[in-house]
């Protein structure tokens, strides 16, 4: 896919999430109006009032969930806006974890952002960086039988930026983890993505980790 294709996908996704947000806003207000009316309605004149109030509360909770999901998807779609950008790495990792949590949950794996308080700013392609980090997590998840934790730790060393994605737990056999690494789809994709980012990745079998290294340009 070229830059124009990627921007096209981003633009369409951003537009749809905007419309979805309007749908959610309408549902929220309509259920809010129903709650308002119920609250000024006599108990005797409205059988099962409490049941309706509870159900309206559940609708509101689901709307909140939908708003968070569409908001994050909209944010993701805007990664395609600029080929290169100044990125707050900690913020990008938070976003990554939100987007990846579902895949980890299926394997009963917890994702932990180990970002330090220090702000790390890098100038790079945000979409490809997300893709590279996603491939690292995907690779470890595919190696995992079930359970454990994947921690993501950013670090700045001079002009270089490192992100370590480390698996902790009993779900991966450390001896076999990187045995078929050269034929892994995730690592093949990671390799080409890292080339585009002018970076590299390393496998650390003893620590069950994938480490990516890129220039911060900041």
């Amino acid at each position: 896919m070229n830059e124009k294709d990627i921007k096209f996908i981003g633009k369409i996704t951003a537009g749809v999430t905007h419309e979805l947000n309007n749908v959610l806003a309408s549902i929220r207000e309509i259920s809010g109006l129903m709650t308002d009316i119920l609250s000024i309605t006599d108990e005797k004149s409205f059988p099962r009032k409490e049941k309706f109030q509870t159900s309206l509360g559940k609708i509101q909770n689901q709307v909140q969930r939908g708003v968070k999901l569409t908001s994050q998807l909209n944010k993701f779609s805007h990664l395609t806006d600029n080929y290169k950008n100044d990125i707050d790495l900690n913020e990008l990792l938070e976003h990554l974890i939100f987007l990846t949590e579902r895949f980890a949950r299926i394997k009963n794996v917890a994702l932990q952002n180990q970002s330090i308080n220090q702000t790390i700013t890098i100038n790079t392609d945000p979409l490809r960086l997300q893709m590279a980090l996603f491939n690292c997590i995907s690779y470890l998840l595919n190696q995992t039988v079930i359970g454990g934790e994947i921690s993501i730790s950013p670090e700045k060393k001079g002009k270089e930026c490192l992100v370590s994605i480390t698996y902790k737990g009993e779900g991966i056999n450390k001896l076999s983890i990187f045995k078929d690494s050269t034929s892994s789809d995730e690592l093949l994709s990671l390799k080409s993505t890292m080339e585009n980012l002018n970076g590299v990745y390393e496998l650390d079998a003893s620590n069950t980790a994938v480490i990516i290294k890129i220039q911060s340009n900041k």
């Binding site: 905007h18 947000n21 309007n22 806003a25 309509i30 109006l33």
Partner: protein
Amino acid sequence: MDNIHVLIVDDEEDLAKTIAERLEIRGIHTQTASDGDKALNLIKSQPPDVVVLDLMMPGIGGLGILKQINLLENKIPVILLTGYGSRERSIEGMNLGAFDYVLKPCNLDDLIIKIQEAIKIK
């Protein structure tokens, strides 16, 4: 809040009318408009105390309506309703003199607080 009149402008008619009904329950008088022409006609014929204005609308859009409101002799405070990807437009709106902005979907209590604050400053 009996004497407060608010105009809600949003091309999402269901949303505008429902917010209006909820404000009415709380004693705030409301009108709604779904486009710029209707909104400007209402503003001229029955000036509200506050305008709640969606930014992303067809036609002249929220910012276009805001510019027209700014040309009126009697200043009317405007609270912008903004969605995703409207951050730059929100900033532009604030630079054009909007009183404040709220994110969609907005919390009604927060909106009422902003309406009251806008009236105080007016």
